[in-house]
Structure formats: C-alpha cells, structure tokens
Assembly symmetry: C2
Homo-oligomer: 296 residues x 2
Amino acid sequence: MIKEYLQARRTLVENRLEALMFRVDGPFKDIIEAMRYSLFAGGKRIRPILCVAAAEAITSDAELLDEILDIGCAIECIHTYSLIHDDLPAMDDDTLRRGKPTNHVLFGEATAILAGDGLLTFAFELLSSPAEKIGPAARLRIINLVAHAAGPEGMVGGQALDIAGENTDYPFTHLKTIHSSKTGALIKASIGAGAIGAGADRRQLDDLVHYGAAIGLAFQIVDDLLDATSTTEILGKSAGSDKVRGKATYPGYFGIEETRNRARSAVREATDALSGFGSEALQLRELAEYIQQRTY
Amino acid sequence: MIKEYLQARRTLVENRLEALMFRVDGPFKDIIEAMRYSLFAGGKRIRPILCVAAAEAITSDAELLDEILDIGCAIECIHTYSLIHDDLPAMDDDTLRRGKPTNHVLFGEATAILAGDGLLTFAFELLSSPAEKIGPAARLRIINLVAHAAGPEGMVGGQALDIAGENTDYPFTHLKTIHSSKTGALIKASIGAGAIGAGADRRQLDDLVHYGAAIGLAFQIVDDLLDATSTTEILGKSAGSDKVRGKATYPGYFGIEETRNRARSAVREATDALSGFGSEALQLRELAEYIQQRTY
C-alpha cells in the first residue's frame, strides 16, 4: 500500500513540477533545459511528499493542500540544485546519479553550476508567488524556515563540513552535525513548511518538527547503510563511494547491525512524536515505516 | 559631493552587512569565513545604495528606510554570490577581483561554489526575516521580484548566455538580452524593491523601474567601456579581458565614441524618467550623473 501511495504521490509531484517549471523556449532555453534535465531525472520526491503529508495531518482543505504541494515542489528544486552542485568535479566528482549521467557530464561544468544556481533561485520565486490560501505572513515564515535550512547553517554548511571531513578522523558527534545539517535540515524544513502552511498550532508544529528531525536522521542512516550494503545497479549511483572517499558513516562507527538498530530507533522516535495525532497522520506513520523497510 | 555621499553610503551598507552577517564561530566557521571574505572585499555597493535611494524618493520614514537598507544588503549578497561563481575556473576563470585574489584562489573551488550558494540562500533568509515596517505582502512581492531578477530569466540566464556567446558572432540585439538579464535585471530589481518597500504607488513604481532599467543599461555600457579603455591597476580586475575572451561589447559594435554617446543617452533616459519627482529624487539623479562621469 505504501508503494502505491508513494508512486501516486511521485506522479502528483512530477506533474505539478512540470506545470510550475519554465518551459524550454526563448533566449534562456539552454540553461532551462539543463535545469529540467536534473529536475526530471527521477528521484523519490520524498521532501514534497513529506511536506504534503505533514499538512494532511492538520488539514483536509484540498485547495490549501494544492498550495502546499507547490511549496513541496520548491523544496524539491532546492534538493535538486544541491545534488547538481554536490556532483561537480570540484566536490564529489560523481558521473552517475539515479542511473543517468550527472548534469556536468552532459552539459559541462559551467552550465551545471548555473543550473544549480537557477534551481535554487527559482525555488524562492515559487515560494513567494502570489497565492490564495496561505497568507503572506505564513508564506514569509516558510521562506525563512526553508532558506535557513538550505543555507550556511544548514545544507550548504553541512556539505562544506562533509567535504572538509573526507579522509580525516573526527568524533561521532561531528558526523551527527554533518548529517543533521546536510540532509536533516531540509527534510525537517519540508515537514515544518507543510505544517505552517496548513495552519498548525504551536503543539502540532513542535510534534511534527520532532517527527521531521527523527525521520531526517533515519533517512541519513539508511543512506549510509545502503551505500555500504547495496550495489551500484540498485542505487543508480556509485555504491561504496563513502568508503572510497574516506567519508565517515554510521556503519563505519558502529557496524551494520548496530546501524540498523539505530535506524529503527530513529524511526520509533519519529512515530512516537505523532502520538498526539489520530488517523490524519497515517501517511506520516507509513512513510516512517517505509524508511525502516529500506534497511533490508 | 556625490563622492562623499557614495562613501558615506558604502560605510552604512558595510556596517549593516557586518551586523546582519553570520559571525565566524561554531561548526560552520570555514564556509562562513569564505562568504565573508568576498562580501567584505570591497565593491561599490551600488545595488543597496540604489535600493535605498529609490525608497528615499518615496518616503523619509527613518525606520522604514532602515528595513529597506536590509533589503539592499540582501541584494548585495546575491550580487557577491554571482561574482564568486562567475570567477570560477569553469566560468570566467578570474584570479583577481577588486585587487584581491578571487574566492576560489584563496579557499579552493569546492568552498567557493558553496560560499556562493551560501550567500544566495542567506539573501533569501534576510529578505524573509521578521520585520516591523514593511508588511508581509510587500515583502513577498520584493522576494518574488528579486528571485525572478536573479534567476534563469535574469542574472543566471544572462551569465549562461554570456559564457555560451564567447568567441561567437551574434547580433547586437542578443548582446542587449545578455546585458539586460546578466546585469540589468538585478539593478532594476534593487530599485523596484526599494520602491515597493517604501510603498510606491503604481505610477511611482513604473517611473522608478523605468529609471532602473535605463541606469542598469548605462552601468553595463560603462563597464564595457572601462574594460576596453582602463588599466588592470585602476579596475582592480583584469582590464581588456572582454577582448581576450572574445566577448561582444558595446565598444566592439560601435567604437569608443559612439559607446560614450549611448551611455550618455541611457543616463538621460534615466533622469527623464524621474521628471515626476522633485528634490526627493536628488540622490537618484546624482547617481545617474556619477555613472556618466565614470565614462571619462
């Protein structure tokens, strides 16, 4: 059931991205084509799905949920930009992503840098677009939350630490800082943005953000795990690359079995945070369960 | 008098940037240091100065103008990010900017890419920060305007065209597209943001945006001119680099004299657009005059 749900939501997100995104024509068609290539190169769309699922825990207003989908799509643009820049030769130097050539392999380095810049900037254009249901004050809070999560104290800062930390020994607490900033912050912000957009009260927002932090952690642990245990064919990107690059990972600190335990415990913390919600948080619970299933 | 005004405003902008910017401490200090290096490496601060001057044509409310200064500072962060990325080896490969080593020369390519990403994202965090005087609806309009101007149909798109156009022949209309998107759009948005923040009515906004478009054009023509006629020592960046790179420029199409005429005529159009304003637009007129003086 969760598989069907995820597939249906992915289709929803991709159709919406297609409707929101620049068309390929006019003087800027080359850069827009490069942006579109990475945006539509697959991906689990987990951030927009979490964003909408968090909103559904608060509201069932279909028009409001439609606007929240747009916010999720903007966050997906930010996620995609980060992948393009992370893959650059000066960064992780990856040639394969989701089973396809990375952006710079296909379009060249200059265009890949600009395609990333373009997606990041376009995300804020989307987030600030005129809307009917989410009031301007809530939209500003969402923009502030997302910008902070994506910025130097969030995703950008985490990527800088990740690169600086290659082939160095550092304590586990530092790995936690890298994970929570590089991956966790934007996942947490996806949940927070959905909740704020849906009009969550203080307690609801706290609970959902708590869920988001735990699910973000679980997500990253599972990513480490899959890099260590899966194959390039299944992942669609180079498996074992963490080890090759001398990156610290959960399996590196704790071994496979204890890493699985920690993923499970993060998932449990996520679902526990939802105890104040009823069936309206069903999708969030299933998403947590889905992340746990990925560990096997 | 304009020199003293510009110097005083530069100081004001830099003090404000210093107050707004992340401090160098905590886990993300390295990336923040790289961001700060380029942000405080000099620069004319023309965009925030224009932003505030446009607001001063509408209002004399000191607290409101203070908030508009913050908006100008955010735009300066976006401008600085664009310089860092433009200077990268994969782009213009410049080693000198404002008489100092470029970001990637000092911090390496990966950090320079991330420092740019960080400044761009931080700009939107600033623009969406809680404020007292500018209401949320106006702030959203400003964010939307700035994001569009900086994005794939603005600055990012213009830089993509600029790089693609090196060593190729194209018609003058295409050069105009490059200029108006790469440089003009953000300058025009600086004026528009200041005007919207100050509560400009429809006619005032139209006039000021018209001024902004003309001043942005004048600015770019003068830049082309200085690259052709000045020295590296005076510019603080490599003079003659347009020719070396095979970039189309105004002097390349029209020669030096006719290029000067066109700069003058753009400046005239800018000041003409201000005819509906009285002495409250004095600074905008002087800024136009200053840009013309740079042609000699």
